[in-house]
């Protein structure tokens, strides 16, 4: 038997997981479910062009149908795997089938606004995506960033306060990156110049931001709420024509400007990291700083710059909570989203697209949890909320293939010291 490469082994394991889940779903949600209940999916939110109004189907049949689809996708993936091809498309179809099979079971007898579910999922992924992009920038260049939470919170606080004082969402958006940058500059100074343990440092910075924002919230934002903490919010902008596309339109093109900025950030980071000189250098200092230094790259300067940019990205993500959401800042309103972003970064194997996919998945799980919580279902919402965390533990324990951080991630670089 020929030996498999690491990527092939990973593919084999995920194939195995997918097939097992597909079989389980078909049996548990399909065959074992009592028939009689109907699940209804709604596809229209607004005045977009209508493809389907809604789709009502027996819950058992739907679960069976999607279970069989995921089984078919698993079979296809197996064939592709044997032929030595990648199994990305088949995996995506298979996972979607598994998810839909579960959903059809969980929402038996209920109405699910399908388009709204996905639109909300994208919205909930926004801070996760910004946060994980900040993680990509910083960690690919070799600086561990567990202070994403603090950068998001600082962005949320400052943009909320500035938007409230100036009555302008635009100003709120403009200052948010600088707030995040302030925190990440602290991270950069202590991590790069003083060579302090970056995990401890990130932890301490989070506590510091929690402390300062909690303090100022109680001291200024509550007593002087009308001036300091009643900022305006961004409204959704419909992109002409595009938003009218059935199902996809309202999800992708009827969102606030933060979401459109997010598209830009994702493409820019993905492109720059793999297609530009800066990207090559960034990856080099993250993997092998000594080698990078030997060809004349200023390791610490590049790291410093990247960590600062990372903070700006996370800070902008923080604006989502205040100007992009409810307007007013609330104590510790990021509520651990920075850590889910970290989870998405790790789950996505430190790659931009991986992190985005993981963040979308976590955002979907979060929104599914709240939608199912409203309509009432057999699964306690607390277990749905555990999904991102459990998924990340499974990812780092190597069950679906080991994830590996950039080789020099977290190691301060000093010229002349061997690594």
């Amino acid at each position: 038997m020929k030996t498999l490469s690491a990527a092939e082994r990973r593919r084999r394991r995920s194939l195995f997981v997918m097939a097992t889940l597909a079989i389980l779903c078909t049996i548990l949600f399909g065959l074992l479910q009592k028939s009689g209940q109907v699940v209804t999916y709604g596809f229209v939110l607004d005045k977009e062009w209508v493809l389907f109004q809604q789709w009502a189907i027996g819950s058992r049949n739907a679960s069976l149908l999607f279970g069989v689809i995921s089984l078919g996708a698993s079979a296809l993936a197996y064939v592709q795997f044997k032929a030595g091809k990648t199994i990305k498309v088949a995996s995506a179809v298979g996972s979607a089938g598994i998810m839909m099979s579960f959903l059809s079971w969980a929402a038996a007898g209920k109405f699910i606004p399908f388009t709204g579910l996905l639109q909300g999922a994208l919205l909930l992924s926004v801070p996760l995506i910004f946060g994980s992009m900040a993680g990509v920038l910083s960690e690919r260049s070799g600086v561990v960033n567990i202070a994403i939470e603090g950068q998001l919170l600082a962005g949320a606080f400052v943009s909320g306060v500035v938007a409230s004082l100036t009555h302008s969402t635009f100003m709120g958006l403009v200052v948010a990156p600088f707030a995040g940058c302030l925190i990440s500059t602290l991270l950069a100074v202590f991590a790069i110049n003083f060579a302090i343990d970056q995990i401890i440092l990130g932890f301490v910075l989070n506590v510091l931001v929690y402390g300062i924002t909690d303090f100022l919230y109680k001291k200024l934002l509550i007593p002087y709420q009308s001036t300091w903490n009643s900022g305006p919010t961004l409204s959704a902008i419909k992109i002409p024509f595009l938003w009218k596309i059935p199902i996809v339109g309202p999800i992708l093109f009827d969102q606030s400007i933060i979401v459109y900025l997010m598209y830009g950030v994702i493409f820019l980071i993905n492109f720059s990291l793999f297609k530009t000189k800066w990207g090559l250098r960034t990856r080099a200092v993250g993997e092998h700083p000594t080698a990078a230094d030997s060809v004349g790259i200023k390791v610490n300067r590049l790291r410093f710059m990247n960590v600062m940019i990372a903070g700006m990205v996370a800070g902008l993500g923080g604006a989502y909570f205040t100007v992009g959401g409810v307007g007013a800042f609330n104590k510790e309103m990021t509520a651990g989203k920075g850590f889910i972003a970290l989870a998405a970064l790790i789950f996505g194997r430190w790659t931009p697209w991986g992190a985005v996919s993981a963040a979308l998945l976590f955002g979907f799980a979060d929104n599914l949890q709240s939608v199912l919580g409203i309509i009432g279902t057999p699964i306690p919402s607390e277990f749905m909320l555990m999904v991102p965390y459990l998924a990340t533990i499974i990812a780092v324990t190597g069950f679906v293939g080991r994830v590996r951080a950039p080789a020099a991630d977290g190691t301060p670089y000093k010229r002349g010291e061997s690594h």
């Binding site: 960690e139 561990v144 567990i146 202590f190 003083f194 060579a195 302090i196 343990d197 970056q198 995990i199 401890i200 440092l201 932890f203 301490v204 910075l205 506590v207 510091l208 929690y210 402390g211 300062i212 909690d214 303090f215 100022l216 919230y217 109680k218 001291k219 200024l220 007593p223 651990g336 850590f339 970290l342 989870a343 790790i346 306690p380 607390e382 277990f383 909320l385 555990m386 965390y389 459990l390 990340t392 533990i393 780092v396 324990t397 190597g398 080991r402 590996r404 951080a405 080789a407 020099a408 991630d409 977290g410 190691t411 301060p412």
Partner: protein, 392 residues
């Protein structure tokens, strides 16, 4: 009997923590002054501004002291000792903190960063309160069994992390961050179940633990200080003994100092990682028990409060030494207890404590800042908390 060489920390070793604390208090004072509306009125007049700022800071820090150590206005003609009531409160908040801090400190010494004290604390308090309110057992046995349940629950939750690290190389920081949330959601789910929901209540709160499972009070019914503080101090002595007097502790430290060398020397690294994290988790779980059985009595979704995270700051401030952790916990316990009084009596929110905590740890971790501010040449710094990153 072997002689125990108990050394008090030397003055030089206390210099860095002391100066860091001073510096953090200074920055805290700036924050208090510059966010106070009555102080800011004088912004045009430097002299008045400094005066008003000084008054605001003095009042806040005085309230902090009165809320944590001694407050003469609490004394009554019948009982002048009541002025020491705040000290009892400090000990009440310090006891669980010492235990959780020891949990983090012990793991540090074996080269592991246990961010998961929060989750282990939660599991400890769940187990302790379950045994505490669900079973009817004789006095004495009940409290011991509740405490043991917490030790086991915390130990399993922590040991799991060590096992995963040893078997698969999963970084303990990532796993513990994630497990903290899993523990919190588990607790929230549990509080909605009929077993844990207090009869007649809809909000998530468990029944009170039975009196037979509570920690004995130490100074009468007027003070909340309880036997938990002795448990915490005993645990500190145990950790000190474990680390510096036992073979196990030697192995822990060897793995912490140089994993590869320890492996070459024949120490089973997987066993060390699992057992360190299990003992760590047990300590944090014990902290949960002391908190629930000593002062809180019931379980809510906020039971663990900030203990698990404060634990990290005290372990860092105490340089991962058992006695250092005890002193740091007493200090931060005092800040917590005093913070409440400060928030009630002045318009300085308790959250300033969090800022001071973060700054103290930041300065401890970066001695260069302290050196530069105080123009010191030969500050004693130790580098046992070295940077490792995800692949370390």
């Amino acid at each position: 009997m072997r002689k125990l060489n108990f050394k008090l920390p030397s003055f030089r070793a206390l210099k860095l923590p002391g100066l860091s604390f001073l510096l953090a208090m200074f920055f805290g004072a700036l924050l208090i002054a510059f966010s106070d509306s009555t102080v800011l009125k004088h912004i045009g007049h430097p002299i008045d501004f400094i005066k008003a700022g000084g008054v605001a800071v003095w009042q806040s820090y005085l309230a902090l002291f009165q809320g944590s150590i001694y407050n003469p206005s609490l004394a009554t003609p019948h009982d002048s000792l009541l002025a020491w009531y705040p000290l009892s409160e400090t000990l009440v908040s310090a006891a669980p903190l010492i235990l959780a801090g020891l949990s983090v400190a012990l793991a540090f010494r074996a080269g592991l960063f246990n961010i998961g004290a929060q989750g282990q604390f939660i599991f400890g308090s769940i187990a302790a309160s379950y045994v505490g309110f669900h079973f009817h057992l004789p006095i004495g046995i009940h409290v011991i069994l509740s405490v043991l349940a917490a030790i086991v629950a915390g130990g399993i939750w922590g040991g799991l992390v060590g096992l995963l690290k040893a078997r698969t190389g999963a970084h303990e920081v990532i796993v513990t961050i994630m497990l903290n949330y899993v523990a919190l959601y588990f607790l929230m789910w549990l509080l909605g179940t009929t077993t844990f929901l207090r009869p007649g209540r809809k909000d998530p709160i468990s029944p009170d633990v039975l009196p037979s499972s509570r920690m004995p009070l130490l100074a009468g019914n007027n003070y909340r200080v309880n036997f938990g503080i002795f448990i915490a101090l005993a645990a500190a002595v145990f950790v000190w003994w474990l680390l510096s007097r036992s073979t196990w502790g030697f192995r822990f430290r060897a793995v912490g100092a140089n994993t590869a060398a320890a492996k070459t020397a024949g120490i089973s690294v997987p066993f060390v990682m699992t057992s360190v994290m299990a003992i760590s988790g047990a300590l944090a779980g014990l902290g949960g028990a002391v908190h629930v059985l000593g002062s809180d009595f019931s379980l809510t979704s906020g039971t663990a409060g900030n203990f698990g995270f404060d634990a990290i700051t005290v372990a860092l401030l105490g340089r991962a030494r058992p006695m250092g952790t005890v002193f740091a916990s007493l200090l931060f316990g005092a800040l917590r207890a005093g913070g409440g009084t400060m928030q009630a009596n002045t318009n300085t929110p308790i959250d300033i404590v969090l800022v001071i905590q973060a700054l103290v740890v930041l300065f401890i971790a970066a001695p260069s800042v302290v050196k530069w501010v105080f123009r010191l040449k030969n500050l004693k710094t130790t580098g046992e908390l070295a940077a490792k990153g995800w692949n370390g």
